[in-house]
C-alpha cells in the first residue's frame, strides 16, 4: 500500500501512545455508558411498570426518560466537540514529531 510513512515507528512515538490512550479513555467508556442509559428505556418499559407512573401532571416517567436521552445526546455532542479541540492539539504534536523523525531519517 502506501509506504510514505513508517507507521510502525509512528505508533511507537510517545506522543502518539499518549494521544491514543487519551482518546480511547474518553470515547469508549462514554459510548458504553450512553448505550447502557439508552437501553434502560426499553428494559424498564418492557419488563417493569415503573415508567407508566405519572411524573409531572399527566406526563409519565417514560416521556421524561425519553426526553432525557435527547438532552444526553446533545450534551455529549457538545462535550465531544470541546474535548476534540484538545485532541487536535495532541494530534498536531504527533504530526510534528513525525516530521522531526522523518527529517532525521532523511539526514541519516
Amino acid at each position: 500500500m502506501n509506504d510514505e510513512h513508517d507507521y510502525k515507528a509512528i505508533a511507537k512515538l510517545a506522543s502518539f501512545v499518549k494521544f491514543q490512550r487519551q482518546r480511547i479513555a474518553f470515547t469508549v467508556p462514554i459510548t458504553l455508558l450512553a448505550v447502557v442509559f439508552y437501553l434502560g428505556l426499553p428494559i424498564l418499559a418492557g419488563f417493569t411498570k415503573v415508567l407508566t407512573h405519572k411524573a409531572i401532571g399527566d406526563i409519565t416517567w417514560a416521556w421524561l426518560y425519553a426526553f432525557a436521552q435527547f438532552i444526553m445526546t446533545w450534551g455529549l455532542c457538545m462535550l465531544y466537540l470541546f474535548k476534540a479541540k484538545s485532541f487536535d492539539k495532541t494530534s498536531a504534536d504527533v504530526l510534528d514529531d513525525v516530521k522531526t523523525m522523518e527529517a532525521a531519517a532523511v539526514a541519516a
Partner: protein
C-alpha cells in the same frame, strides 16, 4: 386528483431537476460523482446528513406510529437520535480518515483484499435496498393519496426521478437535493408543530392532559410492544444501526477531513434531534385532530397521519404543501441510497474486483449508472410485496441489518489488533445472513399478517437485532481465531499500526494528497 398538490409536486420536481442539471455540469471526475469532490462545508454536509437521514420513516412513519400507538411510537425517535453518539464518538472521523469513496474502501485500508471488498460491497447494496423498500412504500402511499395513481405507477415515478438525479448529477446533485429537502422538512414540521401547540392552548402539560384520554394507556409504553424482548431488539438495532448505514457513512467523504466530518455530525445531530422532538407534536396532533379511525382508513399502518393532520389544521394548501415536502423527502433519501448502492457496485465490484482498479473514470461512471438502474429495479420489485407495512418499521429492519453486518467489522477494523481478514469476511457474512434469515423466519414474512401470510412465524421477534448483532460481533472474534492472517505477525501488526495512526491523526487522508506531500518529505 388534487391540483394544488400536483402543482407543488411538479414544483419540487422542477427544482430538483434544475439542481441536477447544474450539478451535472460540475461532475467531471469519479471523485465528483461519488463524493462531490469532498468540497462540502460542515454545515452543508450536516443539512445533507439530515436530509439523508430524516426519511419517509421519520416523517410519515413515526408520526403515524405515535398517533396510533402513543409512547411506543416515540421509541423510534429516541433510537434514531441516540445512534449518533456512536457515529460521532467511534466511527465518523476514522471513516473519513481512512476511506475514499465507499465503506469498503475504509475496511480494505486494513485488508487489501478482493474478497473483503466484495463482501463489504454486497453488504452496502443489501442494506441500501432494504432501506429503499421503506421509502418506496411511503412514496406509493403518498402519491396514491394525492393523485389516485396505482401503487405500482407511483413507485415507478419515484424510481425514474431518482435514477435521473443520480445518473446525471452524482453526489453533488444528491447532496443539494438533500439540503433543500432538509430545509423544507424542518420548515414544514415547525409550521405544523406550532399549529398543534396553538390548538392545545400553548401548554405542554395541557397537551399531555388531553392526550391521556385519547386511548387507554396512550402515554405509557406497552400499547404496541407487549413483549419486552421485541422492543429491546428493536431499540438495539436502532442505536447501533445508524453507524452501520452506508448511505450515512459515505456522507463523511464529502467534506475535506476528519475535523469537518466531526463538525458535520454535531450540527446534524442538533438538526435531527430538533426534528425528532417535533414528531411528538405530529403524532399527538394526528391522534387528536384527525383520529385513529380516519388515519387507518387511509393507510393501515398509519403512514398518512402527518399529511392528514396538515389537512385538518390548514386545509388543502397545507395538506398539499406537506405532501410535497414528504415527496421531496423520499426523493432525496432514495437518491442517496441509489448513489450509495451504485457506488459500491461500480467502485468496489466493477473497478476494484473485475477491472483490478484499472477501469477508466468514464467506464466507472457508466457502470455506476447501470448499477443505479439495477438497484432501483430490484427495490421496486421488492417494495411491491411490502405495501401494507409501516415505513418506520421497515426502516428498522435496514438498521438491524446494518448493525449486524457492517458495524462489527467497522469497529473491529479500527480498534482490534487481532482482527483478521478472515474475521472480517466471516463477521460480515454471518451478521448479514443471521439478520436476513431471522427477518424471513419472523412475523413480518411468515406471520399471520406477514408478506407470505402463512400464519405461523418460527422466530418470535419482529426485528432480528437482539440476536443478529451479537452474532455479527461474535463472528468477528471467532472468525479471527478460525482464520488467522497468512501474513507474518509483524506484517499483521504493521497493517494495524497504519490503521491506528491514520484513523486517529488523519495523516494521509484521501482527497488531501496535495497538502500531504511536504509532510512526507
Amino acid at each position: 386528483m388534487n391540483w394544488t398538490a400536483t402543482l407543488l409536486f411538479l414544483g419540487i420536481v422542477a427544482i430538483t431537476l434544475g439542481i441536477t442539471w447544474w450539478a451535472s455540469r460540475r461532475t467531471k471526475s469519479a471523485s465528483d460523482f461519488y463524493t462531490a469532490g469532498g468540497g462540502l462545508t460542515s454545515t452543508q454536509n450536516a443539512l445533507a446528513i439530515g436530509g439523508d437521514y430524516m426519511s419517509a420513516a421519520s416523517f410519515l412513519g413515526i408520526a403515524g406510529m405515535v398517533a396510533l400507538s402513543g409512547f411506543d411510537g416515540f421509541f423510534y425517535s429516541v433510537g434514531f437520535l441516540v445512534g449518533y453518539i456512536i457515529v460521532l464518538f467511534l466511527v465518523a472521523e476514522p471513516m473519513r480518515n481512512l476511506g475514499k469513496f465507499t465503506v469498503a474502501d475504509m475496511i480494505t485500508a486494513r485488508y487489501a483484499d478482493q474478497k473483503v471488498r466484495g463482501v463489504a460491497a454486497l453488504n452496502t447494496i443489501t442494506i441500501s435496498v432494504f432501506y429503499m423498500i421503506a421509502q418506496l412504500v411511503g412514496a406509493g402511499a403518498l402519491i396514491k393519496l394525492l393523485m389516485g395513481f396505482d401503487f405500482k405507477w407511483s413507485v415507478l415515478i419515484v424510481g425514474v426521478l431518482m435514477t435521473v438525479y443520480v445518473l446525471f448529477g452524482g453526489m453533488t446533485a444528491t447532496s443539494w437535493v438533500q439540503i433543500v429537502k432538509a430545509v423544507l422538512l424542518i420548515g414544514g414540521t415547525v409550521v405544523i408543530s406550532v399549529m398543534v401547540l396553538h390548538k392545545f392552548g400553548w401548554s405542554i402539560g395541557g397537551m399531555f392532559h388531553q392526550m391521556s384520554t385519547v386511548k387507554d394507556g396512550y402515554l405509557s409504553p406497552g400499547l404496541k410492544y407487549k413483549n419486552g424482548w421485541d422492543s429491546l431488539s428493536l431499540m438495539l438495532g436502532l442505536v447501533l444501526g445508524t453507524a452501520g448505514l452506508p448511505h450515512i457513512l459515505v456522507r463523511f467523504f464529502t467534506v475535506k477531513n476528519g475535523v469537518e466530518a466531526r463538525k458535520s455530525v454535531v450540527k446534524a445531530t442538533w438538526i435531527i434531534g430538533i426534528f425528532y422532538v417535533m414528531t411528538v407534536f405530529l403524532g399527538f396532533g394526528a391522534a387528536k385532530f384527525v383520529g385513529a379511525e380516519k388515519i387507518t382508513a387511509q393507510d393501515k399502518a398509519g403512514n398518512m397521519a402527518a399529511p392528514l393532520l396538515a389537512q385538518a389544521l390548514g386545509g388543502n394548501f397545507l395538506f398539499a404543501f406537506i405532501c410535497a415536502v414528504a415527496f421531496a423527502t423520499i426523493l432525496a433519501v432514495v437518491a442517496g441510497l441509489v448513489l450509495t448502492g451504485a457506488g459500491a457496485f461500480a467502485h468496489d465490484i466493477y473497478n476494484g474486483i473485475i477491472r483490478k482498479g484499472q477501469a477508466t473514470e468514464r467506464d466507472q461512471m457508466k457502470m455506476a449508472r447501470f448499477a443505479a438502474l439495477g438497484v432501483a429495479i430490484v427495490s421496486i420489485l421488492l417494495s411491491l410485496g411490502a405495501q401494507d407495512l409501516n415505513v418506520a418499521f421497515l426502516v428498522s429492519l435496514a438498521f438491524a441489518v446494518g448493525a449486524s453486518s457492517n458495524l462489527p467489522t467497522i469497529i473491529m477494523t479500527i480498534f482490534w489488533k487481532k482482527f483478521t481478514k478472515g474475521g472480517a469476511i466471516f463477521s460480515m457474512i454471518i451478521g448479514l445472513a443471521t439478520a436476513l434469515i431471522l427477518v424471513i423466519l419472523g412475523p413480518n414474512v411468515l406471520g399471520p399478517t406477514g408478506m407470505l401470510k402463512t400464519g405461523h412465524a418460527i422466530f418470535p421477534l419482529s426485528t432480528p437485532g437482539l440476536f443478529s448483532i451479537p452474532a455479527g460481533f461474535l463472528a468477528a472474534i471467532i472468525g479471527s481465531y478460525l482464520f488467522p492472517d497468512k501474513k507474518s505477525k509483524d506484517e499483521h501488526e504493521q497493517a494495524f499500526d497504519e490503521i491506528l495512526v491514520r484513523a486517529s491523526t488523519g495523516i494521509h487522508v484521501h482527497g488531501q494528497e496535495k497538502e500531504e506531500v511536504p509532510m512526507g518529505a
